[in-house]
């Protein structure tokens, strides 16, 4: 698994590559905490290269979403593959983590 961050003008993109499980979940929470602490409170998680997600990964996304919202920002997901979307639907989290086609569309499309 690989996690990388790219800072854009109005938001930051965290890209997750590989399996998004309990082994990775703390790293996403830390990264989101660091970004929000730096004042970057709009975050997109790019899931295009996520090969797998389980409830630990989802829990980290919800934790990071709450961190961003408490700071007045938001966390959105982008480019999630179908197997990730099916786990979101199974957990009813598709209602709070709506998928956007690209990281750019997540914040620029309103």
């Amino acid at each position: 698994m690989n996690l990388s961050t790219a800072v854009q003008e109005h938001y930051a993109v965290i890209s997750i590559e590989g399996r998004f499980t309990a082994a990775v979940a703390p790293r996403l929470r830390e990264e989101a905490n660091d970004l929000v602490a730096e004042g970057r409170k709009n975050i997109v998680v790019d899931l295009s290269a996520a090969t797998f997600i389980d409830s630990s990964g989802l829990g980290a996304l919800i934790g990071a979403l709450k961190t961003a919202r408490v700071a007045g920002g938001d966390l959105r997901i982008a480019a999630a593959p179908e197997h990730v979307l099916s786990v979101l639907r199974l957990t009813n989290l598709d209602r709070v983590l709506r998928n956007h086609p690209t990281p750019d569309a997540a914040f620029n499309a309103g």
Binding site: R19, T21, A22, A23, F52, D54, S55, S56, L58, G59, A60, I62, G63, K66, H83, S86, V87, L90, T91, N92, L93, R95, V96
Partner: protein, 136 residues
């Protein structure tokens, strides 16, 4: 037919998250050798295995215990048996509901139950055994 023959893999190791990657790798290898069904089965079964194994590892009350995970793919089902050497666990599988959407944990058992046809926990002489089965 290769898909009709039962194929198995066994992964053993210490009770920490490193074994999760090994088990998911082994599952991928078994699947890739001869995919026994639609890709959806692969993801949903791996999801159930990951949920139960993560629960076992994270709720482990003491020092490291040995884990043994047996994976199997046959003509009509995917299955896994997870054995730990930990003290007997109190587990209520049935009725494990999905928590509120803003909860950061507590979805694992409900997810596993939703995607499996059989999920069983039993105490053995040496620890706990979880049995997982998803029909193809």
């Amino acid at each position: 037919m290769p898909g009709d023959r039962e194929r198995t893999a066994v992964v053993t190791g210490e009770c920490d998250l490193a074994i999760l990657e090994e088990v998911l790798d082994a599952l991928d290898r078994l699947w890739d050798e001869a995919p026994p069904g639609a890709d959806e089965h692969r993801y949903l079964f791996a999801l159930a295995v990951s949920e139960i194994l993560t629960n076992v590892i994270q709720h482990n009350p003491g020092p490291s215990f040995a884990l043994r995970v047996e994976l199997g793919m046959g003509g009509d089902a995917l299955h896994a048996t997870i054995d730990d050497g930990a003290p007997p666990a109190e587990v209520a599988i049935e009725g494990a509901g999905m928590p509120d959407v803003d909860s950061e944990s507590g979805r694992g058992l409900a997810l596993a139950e939703a995607v499996l046809d059989e999920l069983r926990h039993e105490r053995t002489a040496s620890g706990n055994r979880w049995t997982l089965r998803r029909g193809l």
